[in-house]
């Protein structure tokens, strides 16, 4: 039996360049769901136009929550994280969210207010901590499923090869979901010479409820072997061809996939060409999603 295709939507941020680029997509009825970063409302209410969008999509059962600074793999639980959970619970109580996701990794250590998700070695202690933190997130999320996003940065090829199993062990006790970020996966594949489709197959695809698409950039790093490229998840460029191919590859293999989001950082759409390419990328992703075929079994 064929299943309906997943929803396709946008990650919403307050920056004006992104709002203006997204406006025709919303006006044209092309956006079936939105993702909202909970942290963005911790310091105060978001702009009115965002609140309107959140209310509209919540009432349609198409609003999804994402977290950035909880830091589920910080080895030391800090008061900052307890406060994050309190604020997340408050934000989640305002509207109906379909699920809540956070990032794999640790962003802070004691003394830091915020950071960026960094990798963690796949050791038993890290798994135990991550499970406990995810349970605490589940406790404030109520009935909404809780999930983790795969990371772009890996310290080594070994990290890349065990990432799927690490995620599985973290998510299993709460029956959590995987937010499969295909550009993050592409970064790991490119940087450590692993076939992207094989890397995708090493992920717990049966847990995927959400997929992220974005672009990024290349940096060149001097190494003892000379300059070498490194793919970065900077959310400031066009979606690579290989990421579109990955989208078509994973959709039939993710039976629980509910929604696909296109992400872009604010203040990165600086030319009319950037805006046109952003919209074209969205339409291309939309076309792949709405024509995708999945079966129940």
């Amino acid at each position: 039996m064929r299943r309906a295709p997943p929803k396709i939507g946008l990650s919403v941020l307050p920056e004006d360049d992104l709002r203006l680029a997204q406006l025709p997509l919303f006006a044209g009825g092309r956006v079936e769901a939105i993702e909202w970063t909970l942290d963005a409302e911790f310091a105060g209410a978001p702009p009115g136009w965002i609140e309107g969008l959140l209310d509209h999509y919540a009432s349609a059962g198409a609003l999804y929550a994402h977290g950035v600074q909880f830091s589920p793999l910080s080895a030391r639980f800090e008061p900052r994280q307890a406060e994050w959970l309190r604020l997340a619970e408050r934000a989640l109580g305002k509207r109906r969210y379909q699920h809540v996701s956070e990032h794999f990794g640790f962003t802070t250590v004691p003394g830091l207010a915020r950071g960026t998700p960094l990798p963690v070695p796949f050791v038993a202690g890290a798994v135990a901590i991550g499970r406990e933190r995810l349970q605490s997130l589940q406790d404030v999320a109520g009935n909404a499923p809780v999930g983790l996003e795969n990371l772009a940065l890996a310290m080594s090829r070994e990290d890349v090869l065990v990432h799927g199993e690490f995620l599985e062990q973290l998510l299993d006790p709460i029956n959590g979901f995987l937010l499969l970020d295909l550009h993050n996966l592409y970064c790991q594949a490119q940087n450590f010479a692993v076939a992207p489709d094989q890397l995708a197959l090493a992920m717990p695809l049966e847990r995927v409820r959400e997929v992220h698409l974005s672009g990024g950039s290349w940096s060149t790093v001097q190494t003892p072997d000379g300059p070498r490229p490194f793919r970065r998840d900077t959310h400031d460029g066009a979606i690579p061809e290989e990421v579109f191919a990955l989208l078509a590859f994973v959709i039939p293999r993710c039976p629980r996939l509910e929604v696909v989001f296109v992400e872009r950082l604010g203040n990165t759409l600086t030319t009319p060409h950037d805006v046109a390419r952003y919209r074209a990328d969205y339409e291309r992703a939309r076309s792949i999603v709405v024509t995708s075929e999945r079966s129940d079994g």
Binding site: V109, L112, A113, G115, L118, G125, A154, S156
Partner: protein, 71 residues
């Protein structure tokens, strides 16, 4: 629950990434920190490109607690 060994690694890693100017310096700083063998092995296996990227990420996104007013 805390994990003291993992906490030591994370604190040392963030401190080294914030202070060092190169992957070699990061590794040198981490070599001075007493860590469990499994964690030391993880550091030793790190790709210099990943360390350099992490240096830049920590420099760009990390903020101390006293830099941000409470919500």
């Amino acid at each position: 629950m805390d994990d003291a060994e993992l906490a030591a690694l994370q604190a040392a890693l963030v401190a080294a990434l914030g202070r060092a100017g190169s992957p070699e310096e990061v590794l040198a700083l981490l070599a001075e920190v007493p860590l469990a063998a499994s964690l030391r092995q993880w550091i030793a296996a790190s790709d210099p490109r990943a360390i350099e990227t992490a240096i830049e990420l920590v420099g760009r996104w990390t903020e101390p607690l006293d830099a941000i007013p409470p919500a």
